[in-house]
Every structure is written in structure tokens, then in C-alpha cells.
Amino acid sequence: MITTTGLSKHFQDHEVLKSINIEVAAQDIVVVLGPSGSGKSTLLRCLNGLEDISGGSFEVNGIVVDATASRRLRQQATRNIRKQSGMVFQQFNLYPHKTALGNVIEGLITVKKLPKDQAVTIGRKLLDRVGLADREEYYPSRLSGGQQQRVAIARSLAMEPAVMLFDEPTSALDPELVGEVLSVMRELAQEGMTMLVVSHEMKFAREVATKIILMADGNIIEEAAPQRFFEDPKEERTRRFLRQINEI
């Protein structure tokens, strides 16, 4: 579903991603771990075309973006990829001038050009799915962080993505609100959604992930199934990372 081949990204002379190769198969739940500044967000942003890649290539659901292709071709491919992949941000980024329902149906109306009543039907179904059927008229400013993030997930799902990218979806939340977002993500996983998740929620990673990737300094240090990753890491860097996590 997602393959990156020698994907690299630098900002001026700062190399943030150094030849990354990852593979996310259909229905995989891949959790990316790594210290701050290791390039996790940048990787997701590249995959969603929010950053232009510097080298290598990647493929999402059959659409290829190659750093050596012309800028126009890359942009075209990027736009097609965005229609097939949903992105959930750490800061939710809900549209403050639209209600919960308005946020969910915006893409259906503007991008998919669905008639309003059809969009509303789909939007209500999705709000119900994330447990917010009774909040459709609320503006984001009147929703809790956890509710906002669930609306944001519904907004992404509305576009019927083949794969969902999550960038630390619970990091901006108060601890007591983390659970409600994670349980929506667990349900998604059970329904067979392909997911690439940057997160520090170790319990979620352990229980839901099909594969864990550890990144540091723009490199992939280790990738393994959760059990092996946590019980028997091969790399010293991974052991150090897990020790640091456990101390918190």
C-alpha cells in the first residue's frame, strides 16, 4: 500500500530523512517510534505531499512520486495520493468556522462534489462512528480536544481513504482524553484500515501494531513485529530508546 525507496529529505543542508525504505502492506498497522527531531513527522508529511521530497521515490496505492520526475508530475501525483490517503494531525487542525458536521462534509462537497444532502447523510454516519452523533452542530471551539480529534478522524474517513496517516494524534490531549481517540483508532484497525501511525502510546503500539519502526536521526534503526521489538530488540539504539521510554 505504501512503499518508499531511498526516500530522502533535506531542509537546506540539514538532512532530515536519509534514504528511508519502508513497506506498509494492505491492512498493516505500522507504528513509527523515535525521539523528537528524528524525522517522523517529516516522513508522514512527505507521504502526503505536504513536503516535497529531495531524493528517492515513494508509492501510495499504486501512485508513484519520484524525486527525479518533473515538478508538475510530482504535484499531480501528490494530489491524487491525497485523495486516497487521510491525514490526522497532532493539533487536529479542524476548520474553526465550520461545525463538526461541516468539517466532515467539507471535502465531500468541495472535492468530491457530492450534493449537500448526500454529504450530510455520510457525515452523520461518520460522526456516529466516532461517537459524536450528538455533537454535529458544535463548533470546534466548543469541543474537547478528544472530541476534536475524533471529528478530524471522521473528516479524513469521509474521503474514503485507502490508508490513514496519523501524526501523534494523542500528544496534544489531556491524559484522560487519550483513550477515546485510541479506541476509535483500534476500531479502525479492526475494520481492516491500513494505518501508518506516529505515536508514543506504547500500549497501543504493542497491542495493535503489526509492525514497529524505530527512527532516529533520519534513519530507520530497527523494524520488527511488536513482540520482537519490545522483548528482543536487535539494536543497541533500540534498547537505549526503550530504556528512556520506560523511565518516564
Binding site: R79, R82, G86, F89, P96, H97, E106, T110, V111, S156
Partner: protein, 214 residues
């Protein structure tokens, strides 16, 4: 003071023109301002450059000079405009430059995450601008826009120099007739004050209604 009341219909006609000039040039100024703001943010290099040049010239010269150039100066190039047309053009072009700065600032102050969220659902840059960024930017722009609006009401008095029969010009005509200054100037002063506080009141209500929306 009796003189002012006797000539009130004449002065009110001038006040009507003042309001008309304000509304029309504000309307076109908003359109010019929006187009120029987007040109400066999204245009290619030459377009950005032209837009910047326009804003710089308008903001760097007095409105009075702009008015006389458009009315008297263009005649040298065979362009003869009626005084009212010249007034509309000068005021709109002037307001457009200031409003473009307001809009540009407002557009830039919409958080980057808003655009990214819009892009990630597959919107084109134009769709994201129209549906997500501009509605938020407009809200931010409303208080400074209101100030420009009220400023414009007062600055219309400058087009009296090209004989547009707005409020100041009407007063000057009456003064020429009666050889009395103070009553007429005071009278129109009060009329300007009533119009601008009235306008401010309406704008404030409008602003508050919008603020309540989310």
C-alpha cells in the same frame, strides 16, 4: 445657525453624495484589495512585483495628489473623466491599496495547519483559499476594514477639489453665497460626525454578530 437649517436640503444632498462615494469606492476597493492581496501572495514574480509597486505608490503619495492626477493629469494623455467618475476611481484605487495590506496580513495570519488539513483532503490551492482560508481571514480583517471604511468616509471630502458636489463642496458653495464660514463648517462637521459614528455603530454590530458565529 438658522442659515444652516434653511439650506439643510442642499447640505443633505451633499451628505448623500458623501455616503454614495464612500460605499461605492469601498465596494470596489474591497474587490481590488482582495485581488491584489492574492496576487501578492500567490502570483508569479512579475505579478507580485506589479502588485507591490501599486501598493507602494498609493501608500507613498497623498490621496489629494492621486485625485488631481486622475482628474486633471490624465487629460494630458487624452483621458478626460467626469469629476464623479474620477472621484470613484481615485477613491477605489486608494482604498484597494490599503485594504490589500489588510487582507494580506489577515490571510497570512490563518494558521498553516488549516491549509494543510484542506490539502490533505485533496483540495486544490484555490479551493482551500476560497473555502478555508478566506472565510477565516475575512473575520480577522473586519476590524481594520471598518477603520478603512470610516477613514474613507472622511477622506471623500478631498474630492471637493475636483468639484464633486459632496458635503464639503456643498458647504463651500453656500459660504461663497452667504459670506459666512463658521455655521456651515460647523454644520457639516456635525454631519460628518453623525455619519461616521453611525457607520461605526453598524460595523460594530456586524462584527459582534460575526464573532458569535464560532
Amino acid at each position: 445657525m438658522q442659515l444652516v437649517f434653511d439650506n439643510l436640503p442642499f447640505l443633505l444632498k451633499g451628505a448623500g453624495f458623501t455616503l454614495l462615494l464612500t460605499l461605492v469606492s469601498m465596494f470596489f476597493g474591497l474587490i481590488i484589495g482582495l485581488v491584489v492581496a492574492i496576487a501578492r501572495l500567490k502570483g508569479n514574480l512579475p505579478i507580485r512585483w506589479i502588485a507591490r509597486f501599486y501598493v507602494s505608490i498609493i501608500r507613498g503619495t497623498p490621496l489629494l495628489v492621486q485625485i488631481v492626477i486622475i482628474y486633471y493629469g490624465l487629460v494630458d494623455y487624452g483621458i478626460t473623466l467626469g469629476s464623479l467618475t474620477a472621484a470613484y476611481i481615485a477613491l477605489s484605487v486608494n482604498a484597494g491599496a490599503y485594504l490589500s495590506e489588510t487582507f494580506r496580513g489577515a490571510i497570512l495570519s490563518v494558521p498553516k495547519g488549516q491549509l494543510e488539513a484542506a490539502y490533505s483532503t485533496g483540495m486544490t490551492p484555490w479551493q482551500a483559499m476560497r473555502r478555508i482560508v478566506l472565510p477565516q481571514a475575512m473575520r480577522i480583517a473586519i476590524p481594520p476594514m471598518g477603520n478603512t471604511f470610516i477613514g474613507m468616509l472622511k477622506e471623500t471630502s478631498l474630492v471637493s477639489v475636483i468639484t464633486v458636489s459632496e458635503l464639503l463642496r456643498q458647504a463651500q458653495l453656500l459660504i461663497a453665497q452667504y459670506y459666512q464660514y463658521m455655521p456651515f463648517y460647523l454644520g457639516i462637521g456635525v454631519m460628518y460626525w453623525i455619519m461616521s459614528t453611525g457607520l461605526a455603530f453598524i460595523l460594530e454590530r456586524f462584527e459582534r454578530r460575526l464573532a458569535k458565529a464560532y
